[in-house]
């Protein structure tokens, strides 16, 4: 292995370890964003999603979309983007969409809870 390859590989390992540390530090904040999405899905099912709930869900999904991929959860980014689009519409999703929104939020929670160390 050449010197350049070796230093690239060392940077890679250092980043992986540091990302795991940052993940541990921010995991609860990331889960809180999922909690907002779970609450929004319940409100959709109950047909009582307020405008502020919808905005909070949109913001939570937006933040998850921007964050999860950095921690090697690209599928999480894709799913969060779908939710962001749904909650960015002017009107609340119909009650019939509640179950699908809840299962999408549950999928996000599972991904986050099961994230494996990258190192």
């Amino acid at each position: 292995m050449g010197n350049q390859d070796q230093s690239a590989s060392q940077a890679d390992a250092a980043i992986s370890m540091a990302l795991d540390t940052l993940w541990a530090r921010h995991r609860s904040q990331i889960i809180e964003r999922v909690v907002v999405l779970e609450a929004a899905a319940s409100a959709v099912t109950a047909n009582n999603l307020s405008a502020s709930d919808r905005e909070a869900a949109q913001a939570a999904a937006h933040k998850l979309a921007g964050t999860l991929g950095m921690f090697n959860l690209m599928r999480g980014t894709v799913v969060a983007r779908e939710l962001e689009q749904i909650y960015s519409r002017e009107s609340a999703p119909p009650a019939a969409a509640g179950q699908r929104l809840a299962s999408t939020a549950a999928e996000l929670r599972t991904m986050i809870e099961n994230r494996k160390s990258s190192s």
Partner: protein, 124 residues
Amino acid sequence: MGRKILIIDDEDDIREVASLSLETVAGWEVIKASSGAQGVSRAAEQRPDAILLDVMMPGMDGPATFRELRKNPATAAIPVLLLTAKVQGTDQRRFADLGVEAVLFKPFDPLTLPTQISRALGWK
């Protein structure tokens, strides 16, 4: 070549991962700000080589922060790269029209973020 980068983002996790990337992969110096107002002030004090600026922030958002930076002669010439999780074409065009040097997307890969910045700014 050593560079000094100012990261302006209200989200702790994004600031920390970007900072980790720029310091560990590229060996650059990083300054951080958690709001647009703090970023404007840090930019004037520290005169970074470039600014990585989040779009969606409470209070002064990215575009408003960019306009403040351009108004001040001390910071007007510092290259600004917008960082956004918005992927829709209309948003991208709106951001590009502001006059920033480049628009980078979240999530970014921590291993390649310095290369993306260097490429966007024509740094060797």
